[in-house]
């Protein structure tokens, strides 16, 4: 069923015909087709997104003429685990699925492509845009974040006078302190020859990347003028706890000049409050318009 007033249709696709999604192709205005957006699962929540937020965003973007595809990765939601791709790792399979989804959008004649996702969906989006130069933009909601000195000060500042905190630190029970000590130790150890690694061919989204790999990936994306909106929430407090942490994590990159950014301190990780869903929707639509030109479909 297709109808101008409801531009969504169900699709089954993928190299093993194992993927299920909903493709939205709103009527295009005059001129070049506006960029389309691919939404990638967050964790194991199916394609509607946490609290149905992908549906909300897809429909808001349809109002700007943007085609979207929200789909389920292999084994999630309605998509099957392909029995003929057992030889590949989970991370590689997910990137293959994303390739299949992007290929479907291209076959549909959808213009430049943007990847978007929350949490692991953001990590997968970043891996996809780093790997595929034809992807021109990304919306990254609470992606992996690196802790900084500012993070530690923000975390420990209010706790510094609490005896229980000192006791845990002295007795080695503080997981954060253990992480910091490990990081300090690894920095003191001699580095292998070759300096910072290049962006590897296999960008595994399921593992935390090293800061060097992450920085190299960012540098490559900036060099090719990839358009990115990074959004962090207060819900990611275990890894991200103050506005500028993202910029402080990569002081050698002039990220402020090249990426769009939002920190929504009061929002939880899945945007469960409607007020923050509205705020996120408005931020993404504003970014989309400002970056790619406002096209309001009547």
């Amino acid at each position: 069923m297709t109808d101008a007033s409801f531009p969504e249709r169900a699709v089954v696709f993928g190299r093993s015909q194992h993927l299920v999604g909903v493709l939205s192709t709103p009527p295009a205005g005059a001129g070049a087709p506006p960029p389309g957006i691919l939404f990638i699962n967050s964790g194991i929540i199916h394609r509607v997104g946490a609290n149905r937020i992908y549906v909300r965003l897809a429909r808001a973007l349809a109002g700007r003429g943007a085609a979207t595809l929200r789909f389920d990765l292999s084994g999630i939601g309605d998509s099957s685990q392909p029995s003929d791709q057992l030889e590949v790792s989970r991370a590689e399979l997910e990137q293959r699925d994303i390739d299949d989804a992007l290929a479907l959008m291209r076959r549909e004649g959808i213009g430049p492509l943007i990847v978007a996702g929350l949490c692991s969906g953001a990590d997968n989006s970043l891996a996809a845009i780093a790997r595929d130069e034809r992807v021109s933009g990304a919306v990254l909601l609470d992606p992996f974040a690196f802790r900084t000195l500012g993070y530690l000060l923000t975390y420990y500042g209010p706790r510094i006078l609490q005896p229980a905190v000192w006791w845990r630190a002295i007795t080695g029970q503080s997981p954060l302190l253990r992480t910091v000590m490990r990081a300090a130790w690894s920095k003191m150890m001699p580095r292998r020859a070759g300096g910072a690694p290049a962006v590897p061919a296999d960008l595994s989204a399921s593992k935390a990347p090293s800061r060097d790999v992450f920085e190299a990936r960012l540098r490559a994306l900036l060099a090719r003028n990839a358009r990115m909106l990074w959004v962090f929430t207060g819900g990611l407090e275990a890894r991200y706890n103050y506005r500028d942490q993202f910029f402080d994590a990569f002081p050698r990159l002039n990220l402020r000049a090249y990426v769009d950014f939002e920190y929504i301190a009061q929002a939880d990780h899945t945007f469960s409050r409607e007020v923050f869903q509205q705020q996120l929707e408005a931020r993404i639509v504003t970014w989309y318009d400002a970056t790619f030109g406002a096209v309001v479909v009547p």
């Binding site: 069923m1 109808d3 007033s5 409801f6 969504e8 249709r9 169900a10 699709v11 089954v12 299920v20 909903v22 967050s42 964790g43 194991i44 929540i45 199916h46 394609r47 509607v48 946490a50 609290n51 149905r52 549906v55 939601g77 309605d78 099957s80 949490c119 990780h269 899945t270 469960s272 409050r273 409607e274």
Partner: protein, 244 residues
């Protein structure tokens, strides 16, 4: 698996048909999901239930109510009076889409309540999985989970529950069902105070009622911070047995 939209072009519903593995298509099973966060958490269990029913020879239709999942509509548009029409439409669609001769309905939580209240004609059996039997109990649950139950617009675990939705839920009364299905099976993983009254009420109206209690995790809510509910294998097995 055949995902598709059905119903009117102005208000389409999203459905997924899982065809019978045997291809015989004698019995069709319509699965009615719960609402709100419970629908997201139980999505995997209901998908696996559909797979198992299809493997056992049934044609299965899952669907999203208006304003939920991939169906058209805003979350705030979804209320039981609309969803009851959706259940009727989906059962009709299942018959037309598959040419099955016998229809069984399965409903989880509020989906079970809707399956009964929809009063769809010629249903062979209704299987209720931890149904909402007493609207007051459900409203009490929603009140407990609401971020601010003193406000007019509640938010319950990521979904708005406004006064219209609450009002319609509060007025749901299984005792008012006129077309009682001849055969009702109930599987519960948590004891419900209203179960005995519900059973007596149906049996007084000549329905056969069978209740099974299975110790299993709650598919619609048990989880970590933002995962899915557990899949209760024993419950799915019992439902497949009953639907076959």
């Amino acid at each position: 698996m055949k995902p598709h939209y059905f119903g009117s072009t102005s208000r389409p519903l999203f459905g997924i048909h899982t065809p019978s593995a045997s291809g015989l298509g004698e019995t069709g099973v319509l699965i009615c999901p719960p609402m709100g966060q419970e629908a997201l958490r139980s999505y995997r269990s209901l998908r696996l239930l559909a797979d198992q029913l299809a493997a056992a020879g049934q044609d299965v239709l899952r669907f999203d109510y208006h304003g939920t999942g991939d169906s058209a509509g805003e979350v705030r548009d979804g209320v039981p009076s609309v969803w009851l029409d959706d259940v009727r439409l989906a059962s009709q669609h299942l018959r037309e889409f598959t040419s099955v001769r016998r229809v069984v309905m399965v409903g989880l939580r509020l989906g079970g309540t809707l399956a009964l209240l929809a009063e769809v004609p010629a249903i062979a059996r209704v299987i209720l999985w931890d149904p909402i039997l007493d609207a007051r109990d459900y409203i009490a649950e929603l009140t407990r989970d609401a971020l601010d139950a003193t406000s007019d617009e509640w938010e319950v675990r990521g979904f708005p529950v406004g006064p219209a939705l609450r009002g319609e839920i509060a007025s749901m009364d299984l005792g008012a069902v006129r077309r009682v299905p001849p055969d009702v099976r109930v599987v519960v993983t948590q004891e419900a105070a209203a179960l005995a009254t519900f059973q007596a009420s149906l049996e007084a109206r000549r329905a056969r009622v069978e209740i099974d209690r299975i110790d299993a995790p709650r598919a619609w809510t048990d989880d970590e911070a933002f995962g899915l509910g557990a899949v209760p294998a024993g419950v799915l097995r019992r439902i497949v047995e009953w639907a076959t």
